[in-house]
Subunit: 426 residues, 2 copies
């Protein structure tokens, strides 16, 4: 039954299938380079997306191509690996195959790294009004809506309509929500400030609604407070401790009975794992994430790994592994190393431990909050650090150069490089 080395396969190399080329899947694939096995990376898109900068696409600071790189391009030098663009429709654990829309892929080892989508907690109809920010198409949709709001306000005939069009609601005070709110406020007050004749974009209201008691709940309280102060300095109105109750036409209703007249909302209040748990028919947590063992495998199947936002794990040091890019990368590398050990029939790895190198969130053009163990930064030093780290982790020298150029330009001029309203009208 065991398929632990090439010999036991009748001479063929072990097949590793990786589903998803986000941070987790791609890290796993790279860590398998050069090993005596065949790796297949399946993704329904042709690019790896650097999601932490997606909010900059949504607010016209960067172009999609600057934060995305073709998966085949990234992996083309890795001779044991092939890349497949296809949509997975199921996993057959008994037959050991992954089925896509066009093919089936047999595996000896499987790494599921399919990420997460927004979680509307049962109110999926809210997505149309308040899209989330996970994909490039989400970002260009939000960019379209935000920029269009200013154009429509310029054409509007009543003050009430102008005010409604220039009110933006961001739901969820985690890093994405905080970054979106800061970026929209800066877009209105800086980049667009002098471009209109009838409206004053500087009067736009940006309202950040967080159901919990404070912003950035995974950060320390002082950092939360610093973030709130910096956002308020940018002109963002923060409402904490109140959940959204409903989205109606042009009105956001809050749980305390108050309402906000707005046509443009963004959802960043929670994520739900991809349908991987259903495919695997395995146990999952409330957010749909697969409950994995300490070695990141299914408890009853040590050759099926689940990593990144799709996995639910309290690690060996009782740390609940968060759904962030560094965790996904660490899990992807762990899964790859674990497979390599297994093939060489070495002793298994000790259980996975998440190493938290720090928390970072940016707040507009030159402020951020950062925490590295006991070290806390805020304001410009944190922003500088944030910029360096994000540029460093961007894949591909070309993207790095383009982003540096655009950021330097934006920093010097407040200009935004990607103010395009594209896509069909809704």
């Amino acid at each position: 039954m065991a398929v632990s080395g090439s010999k036991e396969n009748g001479g063929r190399l072990p097949e590793v299938v990786i589903i998803g080329a986000g941070f987790g899947g791609l890290s796993a694939a790279r860590a398998l380079a050069g090993l005596p096995l065949r790796v297949t990376v399946i993704d329904r898109r042709n690019y790896h997306l650097f999601q932490p900068l997606l909010y900059q696409v949504a607010t016209a600071g960067l172009s999609p191509a600057q934060i995305a790189a073709p998966i085949r391009r990234i992996l083309r030098g890795q001779k044991n690996t092939r890349s497949v663009m296809d949509r997975v429709v199921g996993i057959d654990r008994d037959r050991r195959v992954v089925t896509t829309e066009t093919q089936t892929f047999a595996f000896d080892y499987l790494i599921v790294a399919t990420g997460a989508r927004h979680n509307y907690y049962g109110n999926d109809q809210w997505e149309e009004t308040a899209p989330g920010l996970k994909k490039i198409d989400d970002a260009t949709l939000i960019r379209r809506r935000v920029l269009l709001a200013f154009e429509q306000a310029e054409n509007a005939t009543s003050d009430a309509e102008v005010q409604r069009l220039l009110t933006f609601v961001v739901v969820g005070g985690g890093p994405t929500g905080v970054e979106m709110a800061g970026a929209i406020a800066e877009l209105a007050r800086k980049a667009l400030a002098e471009d209109f004749r009838r409206i004053d974009p500087g009067t736009a209201r940006v309202i950040l609604v967080e159901a919990g008691p404070r912003l950035l709940p995974t950060f320390s309280e002082p950092s939360s407070l610093a973030a709130r102060k910096q956002l308020e300095a940018l002109g963002v109105e923060v409402i904490a401790g109140v959940a959204v109750a409903a989205f109606d036409a042009g009105v956001v209703k809050l749980a305390d009975g108050s309402t906000i007249e707005s046509n443009c909302a963004v959802w960043s209040a929670g994520v739900m794992a991809s349908p991987a748990a259903r495919w695997l028919n395995s146990n999952r947590d409330a957010a749909g994430r697969v409950l994995v063992s300490g070695t990141l495998t299914l408890p009853d199947d040590p050759r099926i790994y689940v990593v990144g936002d799709t996995a639910s794990l309290v690690d060996a040091r009782s740390v609940a592994v968060p759904g962030v890019a560094p965790a996904a990368k660490q899990m992807g590398r762990y899964a790859a190393r674990s497979i390599a050990r297994h093939i060489h029939t070495q002793s298994p790895l000790p259980p996975f431990r998440y190493r938290n190198y720090g928390n970072l969130a940016t707040l507009g053009r030159k402020a951020a909050v950062a925490e590295f163990g006991p070290l806390r930064l805020s304001g410009f030093p944190a922003w500088l650090l944030w910029s360096l780290i994000h540029i460093y982790f961007l894949i591909g020298h070309r993207n790095r150069l383009g982003v540096i150029l655009d950021w330097a330009w934006a920093y010097a001029t407040y200009d935004r490089g990607a103010r395009l309203i594209t896509g069909s009208s809704e």
Copy 2:
């Protein structure tokens, strides 16, 4: 009846409405800067598009934002001018108003610069199979189809299917068709060459079909021939003297009875003016262009100008003004100068004369053909000239810098910066 100066308007400034912010409309708007009149530029998009480089977006070389600039940003320093994003639905010549979806705009002078769309010569149903290349959404659609063809070929199960997926048909041998064919061939043979495992992108066929006897009919015969040779050196198959008869599912039928199995076609075989002639209820030529007087106005209405691809004119030197960017810019500036004269009740301008500074078309990464009067260039010198000219005319220093960077990178590495398959699946 005359509205020739501010006095005759009861003290109000003359209103100039410009419809369309392409090369013609934008040149007119800029030439009206600082004059004692009120200028309104109406466009249904929020950006000016540098159409001559659109084929590079369609072939993953550039991002949309690199060849587009927000109209309000371009005009924001021009205090007598406002920019309106709206869709024009009609022109009332008697009441002197332009009607958009949300408003009406009274005018004393009107400049119609609404450009052109593809012309399928009565076969509009071909557009779905063979889209043209005029808008950003066209370019991202074509980019999606071209890149997807390689991905689907990699997943295909039969050789016939691979061959069909890797056959690209470009219809029309004018500059756009020639540039598209060259860019697709290079994409296949260079940028994608090492990225696939099962297919060899280098085996892709790129077929350029031109109904007339030779490519680039507006160029001299030697340049046509040079273009054909350079394209063939890139691996493009040129079929001249044969028109397309029909597009069926997966098959392009030619007028000589032959067929080409292909799933991916691009249309660049002709243009049809925008519906402006209908709005104006004026005489038009076979391509729907408004027949204008020698001063670019309607023959019976000397305050309504039509410029650029929307106008049909044989100029004072019996030159039929072509539908190219330099002609549109010259016409836009002429209309603005003519209005300025009219307001100051100076003698009218002499009739418009098109100055042809030359013809240019690029053929892949380092070849082109160029003609400037008696001077003819081809190969690398022509390409260098083409690059310099296009960068010079790109609006906005930021875009110039970005394009230079991307071209330098592509030149050094053959890499393409925008290999994204985005948009909903069709």
